[in-house]
């Protein structure tokens, strides 16, 4: 287990280097001038542009730029945004908010998705099963921003149950609605995945054995079927954390949440390359660690998978 973890951590190094380089390359090869909108209606003075380009190494070849950037990152310096604020400082503040939002979404997704899937599988073809199938279909078919706007309109404005936007108050309650919207699509997939797996496992030989032993239904399902059905679900949840992080860019924009997603969204609009690379790198790290956790969880769920 220890060896496996160390090996996996070492494997992350080339992944991080590759991913950051790709992002860096893409962001800085985009056409456009970062100083274009900085000086109001007029173009910036040449002296300012020269200083700006000097400060952000914009005149160096791309590989040298990247090398200088990474040299800073290794020392914990993610550079400064074009507004002169250190990226690491703002990122760490915003990361707390996004992590909270992401984990809340993941929690909502796991609890509701698994529960709905289990209920649907146990009463296959019944009322709950059909409700789950139809409602998940609707959620999957709707784009995230439509779901978000509709819920904002009804739950936020008409019925005043939740704050419409989040702003500076990032309490649990304020983040509840955005987290639910963020989770909705994955939740639907998860419920279907759980249903399919559970109903398939319920027909397996070892479940028949469990019945033949005379075990009560609760134990047959709870002990002998659920655990195996959870393996693909855990895989999905791990990979989905990455997708949720991507989803925050949209959701944090719609609900005005001061998180990493919003930060990236703004930086892309401002052509603030340093911020984009730094923030996306942070999300990549989250994704990689989530997948490491998933791989370690496999070993706990299925004794046949050994990490030695």
């Amino acid at each position: 287990m220890f060896k496996f973890t160390v090996r996996r951590l070492l494997q992350m190094i080339p992944v991080i280097i590759g991913a950051t380089f790709l992002i860096y390359w893409m962001v800085f090869s985009l056409p456009g001038d970062p100083t274009a909108g900085k000086c109001g209606d007029r173009p910036c003075p040449d002296a300012y542009v020269a200083q700006f380009e000097e400060e952000y190494n914009l005149n160096d070849p791309l590989l040298v730029q990247y090398g200088k950037y990474m040299a800073g990152v290794v020392q914990g310096d993610f550079g400064e945004s074009y507004y002169g604020v250190p990226v690491s400082e703002e990122l760490s503040e915003r990361f707390v908010v996004t992590a909270k939002l992401g984990l809340m979404a993941l929690g909502i997704e796991a609890v509701i998705g698994i529960l709905a899937g289990v209920l649907a599988a146990l009463k296959k073809g019944g009322f709950i099963d059909n409700v789950v199938l139809v409602s998940t279909l609707a959620v999957i078919a709707l784009p995230l921003f439509v779901t978000a706007s509709v819920l904002q309109l009804y739950l936020g404005i008409r019925w005043e149950l939740f704050p419409v936007t989040v702003g500076s108050d990032t309490s649990f309650y304020a983040l509840l609605l955005p987290a639910f919207v963020l989770a909705s699509v994955s939740l639907a997939y998860l419920a279907r995945l759980m249903r399919t797996n559970l109903s398939e496992n319920l027909g397996s030989d070892y479940v028949r054995t469990a019945r033949a032993k005379g075990l009560p239904q609760s134990r047959v399902v709870g002990v002998h079927t659920l655990r195996n059905s959870l393996i693909p679900v855990v895989t999905f949840l791990g990979y989905d954390l990455g997708a949720l992080m991507g989803g925050t860019i949209v959701i944090e924009g719609i609900f005005n949440i001061p998180g990493v997603g919003n930060y990236i969204y703004r930086a892309i609009n401002d052509r603030d390359g340093v911020v984009v690379v730094g923030a996306v790198t942070a999300l990549i790290l989250v994704y990689l660690f989530a997948n490491l956790v998933v791989d370690l969880l496999y070993g706990l769920l299925d004794p046949r998978i050994s990490h030695d």
């Binding site: 019945r211 033949a212 032993k213 075990l215």
Partner: protein
């Protein structure tokens, strides 16, 4: 009046001393509704098993062997199957019995061993835990330590070396033969009066097959339980069974003692089964004759005798009786030996036509 588990055990014990068969199946039919129409997998099946005796059920895939046995344990989903007729286990009618009362019998008074132990044992739990669980569910007052001791004892009994250490292994750490032994240990952990073994040796290689069969016989003698062994292997039948039930397309087609079925069979399907098994000791002249064709579809079973499309002897029956009328189970020449066939003198045909083909040396000896 409430009966304690001890009292139930006591009544079972007295029952064992001879108040009729431990299992009596009468006119059992099992039907599954499917999208293409109802499939009757078992039709009008009747048989009995006495304590300490072994019944062998033989037939091809899809003949209803397993379906009828799963019905005995009540393992068919009530929503997706229809079961009629009567199944009495130790005098208790189990057709239509409530799930909670059925559960008390399952794994306790009767238990089942499945064919592919790797698939039938739970891959995520230790062998010992699976055994203890089977014990604890019917002995709720027993402690976990008792259950574990029982698990080790059972593993020892079925010949697993170092049972106190192997008890903590997972099924994938066992060999195929050991897994089947563990499966048998799990089936016997509550001293069942009736043990159903569904093709217990099919997934094993031949040397291990013999060990498992020996083990089953030893344990049966020790526990004095009744055993139903489901197989398509007549070698297993010859080794194990007291009585034999031959099934075809959901019906019993021949039923008698093992000796009768193996030496004086009177139904062409049984002849077919006998002709298609190789015999190491037979002369090299002996031919292996496969049964032509495939088992019939249960959705649209053949008219008349369900075996007639594959039967080589229909020309010896007057008219088209075979394809129009289902033969009844009628007494054959031996005592308590019944067969489902229109042939007037099957014994004669077997001796003059079948036996010389499959065992020429045997015919020589008899001459």
């Amino acid at each position: 009046m409430t009966t304690t588990p001890a009292q139930t055990r006591a009544t079972e014990a007295t029952y064992a001393e001879g108040e009729g068969p431990i299992l009596a199946v009468e006119d059992l039919s099992v039907t599954f509704p499917t999208q293409d129409g109802p499939v009757t997998a078992v039709k009008g099946l009747s048989y009995t098993v006495e304590m300490g005796k072994t019944l062998g059920i033989v037939g091809e895939s899809g003949s209803g062997k397993s379906v009828s046995s799963l019905a005995v344990l009540g393992l068919h989903d009530a929503k997706s199957s229809k079961i009629t007729g009567s199944i009495r286990v130790a005098g208790t009618e189990v057709v239509g019995l409530s799930e909670s009362r059925m559960r008390k019998l399952r794994g306790n008074a009767m238990s089942m061993i499945f064919q592919d132990a790797l698939a039938a044992l739970h891959p995520f739990y230790k062998i010992g835990d699976q055994l203890s669980e089977a014990y604890l569910v019917h002995h709720p007052s027993a402690s976990k330590r008792d259950a574990r001791r029982k698990a080790v004892e059972m593993l020892d009994r079925v010949g697993i070396p170092q049972p106190d250490r192997r008890v903590d292994d997972f099924p994938h750490q066992f060999s195929g033969g050991m897994r089947q032994r563990a499966m048998i240990a799990m089936g016997l952990v509550n001293d069942p009066s009736l043990l159903i073994a569904d093709e217990p040796t099919t997934a094993l290689d031949v040397t291990v097959q013999a060990q498992i069969l020996d083990l089953l016989q030893d344990l049966q003698r020790e526990f004095n339980s009744a055993v139903i062994i489901i197989t398509h292997d007549l070698g297993v039948i010859a080794e194990m069974a007291d009585d034999v039930l031959v099934m075809y397309a959901g019906r019993a087609v021949e039923y008698g003692t093992a000796k009768q079925i193996l030496t004086t069979p009177e139904m062409p399907y049984t002849w077919g089964l006998l002709s298609s098994i190789p015999d190491v000791t037979a002369s090299t002249d002996a031919r292996l004759i496969p049964i032509p064709g495939n088992p019939p579809s249960l959705l649209s079973p053949p008219s008349g005798c369900s075996f007639h499309p594959r039967c080589a002897h229909t020309d010896k029956v007057p008219g088209d009786l075979c394809s129009t009328q289902l033969p009844d189970l009628t007494p054959a020449s031996g005592v308590d030996h019944v067969k489902r066939c229109h042939l007037a003198d099957p014994e004669m045909i077997y001796r003059t036509e079948i036996l010389p083909e499959i065992a020429p040396d045997l015919v020589e000896e008899n001459r």
